[in-house]
Amino acid sequence: MANGKTIINDIDHTRYDFRYAESSEEYIREDDGFTEDIVKRISEEKGDPEWMRDFRLKCLDLYNKMDMPCWGPSIEELDMNKIASYVRHKSDMKNNWEDVPSDIKETFEKLGIPQAERLSLAGVGAQYDSEIVYHNLKEEVAKTGVVYTDIETAMKTGYEDMVREHFMKLITPADHKYAALHGAVWSGGSFVYVPKGVKVDIPLQSYFRLNASGAGQFEHTMIIVDEGADVHFIEGCSAPKYNVANLHAGCVELFVRKNARLRYSTIENWSKNMFNLNTKRALIEEGGKMEWVSGSFGSHISYLYPMTILKGNGSKMTYTGITFSGEGQDLDTGCKVVHSGADTSSVITAKSISKSGGIGMFRSSVVIEKKARNAKCSVSCDSLMLDSISRADTVPAMDIRAYDADVGHEAKIGRISDEAVFYLMSRGMSEEDAKALIVSGFADSVSKELPMEYAVEMNNLIKIEMSGHKA
C-alpha cells in the first residue's frame, strides 16, 4: 500500500497483539471468581492496613447485593466466575527498565513506553496485569515535591492518611456494582500528588497492559493536584486479543484544588474481548480546571463516562472525546457533569465513528443545581456513520434547576460526504485513503488536544480501523 504513506505513518498491525505466555513458575495467579477467601488473600498478599482489608470485604458484600445497570449494552456474556481477580509476576516493582523481567520489558518496549519516557515524559508508571512493574519520576520533578507512585507504595511511604482520606470517597462503592467490585479487589494503579503551586511542564504517563487471558484489571488511580498546581496525566491501555472475556474495572479519582489544573488524557485500545467497565470522577474546587481528553478504540463492550463535579465557584471543565466502534464492538461512552458552584462552566465536545457493525453510543448527563448561579454549559456531539450495518446513538440528558443557567446543546448524525471523497480522489487519492483522511479530519479536534506522539498513535488507530485490519 503505497498510498497515503506521507499522510499517516506506517502501521505495525501486530503492535498491540503480541503476547508472551505467563508460566506458573514466574507468575502468581488467583483462582477465578470473586469470593471472600480470594479477597482476603489479595489483601494479605498486598499487606493492606486493617481499614483497607475491612473496606475490601464490605465492598464485596455490596457487590454481591447490587443489581446490574439497567441501561447500556448487555454484559450477560461476561461470566464473573471465569475471571481471575489477581495476576502478578513474582518480581517487585522496579525503578529501572533493566531490572524489569525480560518478557514484561519487551512488551513495554514494543509498545514504545521506555522510548516515550526518554523523549517526552516527566514520569512513567507501567502496570502489567495486576501490579505496577515499573515506576520512575525524573529527578528534577521529584525535587519539586511531586509524588508519583502506586497506591500500595504511597500507603507505606507516609501517604496513608492522604490515601485513606480520599480513597473511594468520590466514587463510592455504592455507586454501582462494578465500583463495589473494584473496592473489593483493586490492585495497582497510580498515586500522584502535586504540591501547591508546582507546575509540571511535561506529562506523567501510566500505561496499563493486561496480558493474562481471562483476567481482570482493577487498578486505582488517585491524583491530587494541590492549590495552584498544574499537571498533565496520560493514561494508555492495551491488551492482546484472547477468545475469552477479560474485564477492566478500574477507578480514577481526581481532586483538583483551588486554582489548580489537571489534564487527563486517555488513549484506550483494549483488545476486542475486553469488558471495559471503568469509572472516572473528578472533584474541582474554586477556580480549578479539569480537562479530559479521551480516545476510545478498543474493547468489546465499554461503559465509560468520566464525571466532573464542579464544586467550587468559577471551576471549569472541558471534555473532548472520540469513540471509534468497529466490528463486534458496543461502546457506550460519554461524560457527566454536575454544576454545583456559581459561575461554573463546562464544554463537552464528543465525536463518534461507527463502522462494520459497530455500535457507538454517546451518553451524557448535565446537571445544573439550583445553587449554581450563572452556570454555562455547552454540549456538542457529532456522529459519523460509515455504513448501514452499524449504529450511532445519542442519548444526552439535561437536568437544569438554575433559572439563570445558559445551556446549549447540539447533536448531529451524518456520513462522509460523497462530494468530499470525490474532491480528494480528483487530487489522486484512492477512495479508501480519501475516506481515511476525512475520518482523521473528523477526529482532528481530539487529536490536536493530544501531545504529538499520541496524536500520531491515534491516527494510526483510525487508519487500522478504516482499513479493516483487526488491531
Binding site: 445497570p69 439497567c70 441501561w71 457527566k336 451518553r363 448527563s365 446537571v367 439550583k370 456522529s383 456513520m385 460509515l386 455504513d387 448501514s388 450495518i389 452499524s390 449504529r391 450511532a392 446513538d393 445519542t394 442519548v395 444526552p396 440528558a397 439535561m398 437536568d399 437544569i400 434547576r401 433559572y403 439563570d404 443557567a405 445558559d406 445551556v407 446549549g408 446543546h409 447540539e410 447533536a411 448531529k412 448524525i413 451524518g414 456520513r415
Partner: protein, 340 residues
C-alpha cells in the same frame, strides 16, 4: 382497580439515577368512564367503519390503561376540514381512530377542555393515507387540577404529511406522548409544541418519530416558558431505522426559565441505524438573553414588559393559526392571566 403505570417511557434509557426514563402514575382504571367525555365534531365529511387498526408497535403502559378503561372506538375517516371539541368531565377516558382519506388535505382543530374531574385520558390513532395532508391544531386548556394523559400514535403512508401544532396551558400534570411512524416513502412530519407553565404545573413529553421509509422528513420542535415552580421534562427521539435512506430529521427545543424554582429536564435522543441520513438536535435553555432585553430597553420597555412581550410573541405564531375566533380569544385570555 387502582394500578401503577409507567408512562412516557423513553425508547432508549439514560442513567437510572436521573429518574428521567419514564414516570409512574397511579390510575384507577375502574373509575374511568367514556361517557364523561363529550366529543363534538363539526365538519369533516366523516364516514365511520368498524375496521380494526393495529399499529405495529410494542405495547406500552398507556395501551394497557386504555385497554382496561374501554374498548376501541369506531374509525372515523375524514375528507374535509373539521373542528373537534373534547370536554372531559369527571374521571374520563376516550379512545379514537381518525383516518385521513387518500389525497385529501384536511385541517382539524381540537380543543381539549374540562369541567371538573381529576383525570382526563385521551388516546388517538391517526392514519394518514397515501398522499393525504393533515394539519392538526391541538389546544389543551384543562382545569389546573387535572391529570392529563394524551397518547397519540400516527402512521404516515407514502407522500403523506402530518403537521401537529399544540399549545398546552392547562392541567396540573400532563403526559404528552406521541409516536409517529414515517412508514411510506417521502412522508413528512412536522410538530411544534408550545407551553406556558406556572404554579406547580408539570409537563412530561415523550415524542418519538420513527423513520422507516426512505426520504422521510421529520421536524419536531418544543418551545416554552417555565414560571414559579413549574417543571417540564422533554423526551424526544428521532429513530432512523436501517433502510430509511435519504431521511432527514431534526428536533429542537428552546426553554425560557423565569423563576428560581423551575425545573427543566431534557432527553433529546437520536438513534441511527442507517448511514444515509441527516439527523440533528439543538437545544437552548436559559433566561431571555440580556441582548434582547437591552435592545427592547432602548425602545422603552422595562425588563418585565420586555419579558411579557417576548412570551406573547412566542405564542402569537401558534395562536394566529387558529381560525376560530372564540378559541383564539380564550387562549389569549389564558396567556394574559399567567402573565399578570
Amino acid at each position: 382497580m387502582k394500578g401503577s403505570f409507567n408512562v412516557n417511557t423513553s425508547p432508549s434509557l439514560t442513567f437510572a439515577k436521573l429518574n428521567m426514563n419514564g414516570d409512574n402514575v397511579g390510575i384507577d382504571t375502574g373509575k374511568l368512564n367514556r361517557d364523561n367525555v363529550r366529543q363534538v365534531i363539526t365538519g369533516g365529511g366523516i364516514t365511520e367503519s368498524d375496521e380494526r387498526i393495529v399499529i405495529p408497535l410494542p405495547k406500552t403502559d398507556e395501551d394497557r390503561i386504555f385497554e382496561l378503561a374501554e374498548p376501541a372506538e369506531k374509525v372515523m375517516r375524514l375528507t374535509e376540514d373539521a373542528s373537534i371539541i373534547l370536554e372531559f368531565c369527571g374521571e374520563s377516558a376516550i379512545q379514537r381512530v381518525i383516518r385521513v382519506a387518500s389525497k385529501k388535505t384536511v385541517n382539524v382543530i381540537e380543543v381539549t377542555k374540562g369541567c371538573g374531574g381529576d383525570q382526563a385520558l385521551c388516546s388517538t390513532r391517526y392514519i394518514l393515507e397515501e398522499g393525504s395532508r393533515l394539519k392538526l391544531i391541538r389546544i389543551q386548556i384543562l382545569d389546573k387540577g387535572t391529570l392529563y394523559i394524551d397518547d397519540l400514535k400516527a402512521v404516515l403512508e407514502k407522500d403523506s404529511y402530518l403537521e401537529v401544532v399544540r399549545i398546552d396551558l392547562g392541567s396540573h400534570r400532563s403526559y404528552i406522548g406521541s409516536h409517529v411512524l414515517l412508514d411510506g416513502k417521502n412522508a413528512e412530519y412536522k410538530a411544534h409544541g408550545d407551553y406556558l407553565l406556572n404554579g406547580d404545573q408539570r409537563l412530561d413529553i415523550n415524542m418519538i418519530a420513527d423513520h422507516i421509509a426512505p426520504d422521510t422528513v421529520s421536524d419536531m420542535r418544543y418551545d416554552g416558558v417555565l414560571i414559579d415552580s413549574a417543571s417540564k421534562l422533554f423526551r424526544g427521539t428521532l429513530d432512523f431505522k436501517s433502510g430509511c435512506k435519504g431521511a432527514k430529521g431534526s428536533e429542537n427545543e428552546e426553554v425560557i426559565l423565569l423563576s428560581e424554582d423551575v425545573i427543566n429536564q431534557s432527553l433529546p435522543i437520536i438513534l441511527c441505524g442507517e448511514e444515509d441520513v441527516e439527523g440533528n438536535h439543538g437545544a437552548s435553555v436559559g433566561k431571555i438573553s440580556d441582548e434582547i432585553i437591552y435592545y427592547l430597553a432602548t425602545r422603552g420597555f422595562d425588563e418585565e414588559s420586555a419579558t411579557k412581550l417576548i412570551i406573547r410573541s412566542k405564542f402569537n405564531t401558534a395562536v394566529s393559526q387558529i381560525y376560530d375566533e372564540k378559541i383564539r380569544g380564550d387562549l389569549t385570555r389564558r396567556i394574559e392571566e399567567v402573565l399578570k
